[in-house]
Symmetry: none
Subunit: 229 residues, 2 copies
DNA sequence: GCGATTTGTTACGCAGTCGTGACGTGCGTA
DNA sequence: TACGCACGTCACGACTGCGTAACAAATCGC
């Protein structure tokens, strides 16, 4: 459940197989395609946590896939790592400008790629890398599925857990109800916006400490945010 | 069951005999072959706990055996130690990238190899190295197949033993029913997910102490975890 | 200050999940 | 052959957590 989902877009079948099984060995959930259009389709129906994107692929070019991933709402913030045979500086610049998060030049060792993926995930979504996130006096351990506040264990439901994790992955940032529904409930869920309010309340109740201020901030007509450090 | 099973793939007969003899002396269960294809066959029919793989063998090359071991689901996570006469750096890199866990250059002393095997097993599967694992007031002795809680011996079935061992190898971590089936029953077993529940119950019943809290934690809609330290 | 909008809070029915006991089967042993 | 043991499956019941609606409170624009 907590396995990070990778989408590998690569038309060198041998390389794709190698990368795929190495990442599986590392506990990742990998899906592979050699076609740019199919990549966009796969990404849309089940948002991956990170995209490994070959620069030169059939169908659509890498830069175009990158651009269109960014344009789509549900995949706009998914980190992308570009794989390219050309060590051309232009490519690198264009890739990063298009919104890629990192850039690996072929030939690369799977070990290096795994390290890069780990680094990007740790930076963007620490919980996916299996690391305990800490915000203020809150701590969330994704592998143990456990939340503590000031060291004290907290009883929390599954939805509240995911909600809190999302907040803790982006501390201080304000999310609208719609954004929270997309991120926590999954995009395409037919849930009333007001339902978020109820879960916010349940979350507040769960992590409340008498006397201490509420770490969940309401931003009127905008949404909610977790009080940053 | 408690003796770690090694698969030795080596075409130097004299060396193979020596290694086999020494490891048997250390309490390992060793099977030997000089052929890559046969190695894959042996590994498939009875998954070993570790593979010692000569880099240059007849039939299939070492790197190919390595790759195909990883591709097969049941052997994908078996640790591999490469034995090679060439101290070539390229080999070393390629071996590790293909998924080997360690690398020993010929000529090596049996003593060194035994140490390396022990180190890898301890890292990957502590219980296989014959070490008693302790989590809280639970202790599990893999060689004696015995479990104690607060010093008191506990009667426990084979499946519950493997289940508890897996939990104790990763204390605190939450496992889904599917993950537990893969880890305890073996991947590819056609077992109902709910069957896990029943064995969890039997495990709980076996290790229960009246008055003491249940060390097995249910994480709703996620799985089960053993209460860490 | 007053109406309108937004948010907090509570209660409730429902679906999904989990615990538990019972049952049938296969296998090794006495 | 009879027995015991461990296993996998099922069915039932209890419970938890979910989503929604309805009402109360707070905040904003005027």
């Amino acid at each position: 459940m907590s396995a990070p989902k990778l989408l590998l877009v690569e038309d060198d079948t041998a390389l794709a197989e190698l990368v795929e099984y190495r990442f599986r060995g590392e506990g990742y959930d990998v899906r592979t395609t050699d076609d740019g259009d199919e990549a966009l389709l796969l990404a849309a129906e089940d948002t991956p946590d990170l995209v490994l994107l070959d620069w030169m692929i059939g169908g659509t070019s890498g830069i175009e896939v990158c651009r269109r991933l960014r344009r789509n709402k549900s995949t706009a913030h998914v980190p992308i790592i570009i794989l390219t045979a050309r060590s051309d500086e232009d490519d690198r610049v264009r890739g990063l400008e298009t919104g890629a998060d990192d850039y690996v030049t072929k030939p690369f060792s799977p070990r290096e790629l795994i390290a890069r993926v780990g680094a990007v995930l740790r930076r963007v979504r620490p919980a996916l890398a299996g690391e305990t996130i800490t915000v203020g006096d809150l701590a969330l351990d994704p592998t143990a599925h456990r939340v503590t506040r000031s060291g004290q264990a907290i009883k929390i439901g599954p939805t509240e857990f995911r909600l809190l994790r999302h907040f803790m992955e982006h501390p201080g940032r304000v999310f609208s109800r719609g954004q929270l529904l997309d991120a926590v409930w999954g995009s395409g869920s037919d849930i009333e916006l007001r339902t978020v309010d109820v879960h916010i309340r349940r979350l507040r109740q769960a992590i409340a400490i008498p006397g201490a201020p509420d770490p969940v901030r309401t931003v009127r007509s905008a949404g909610y945010a977790l009080e940053g450090v």
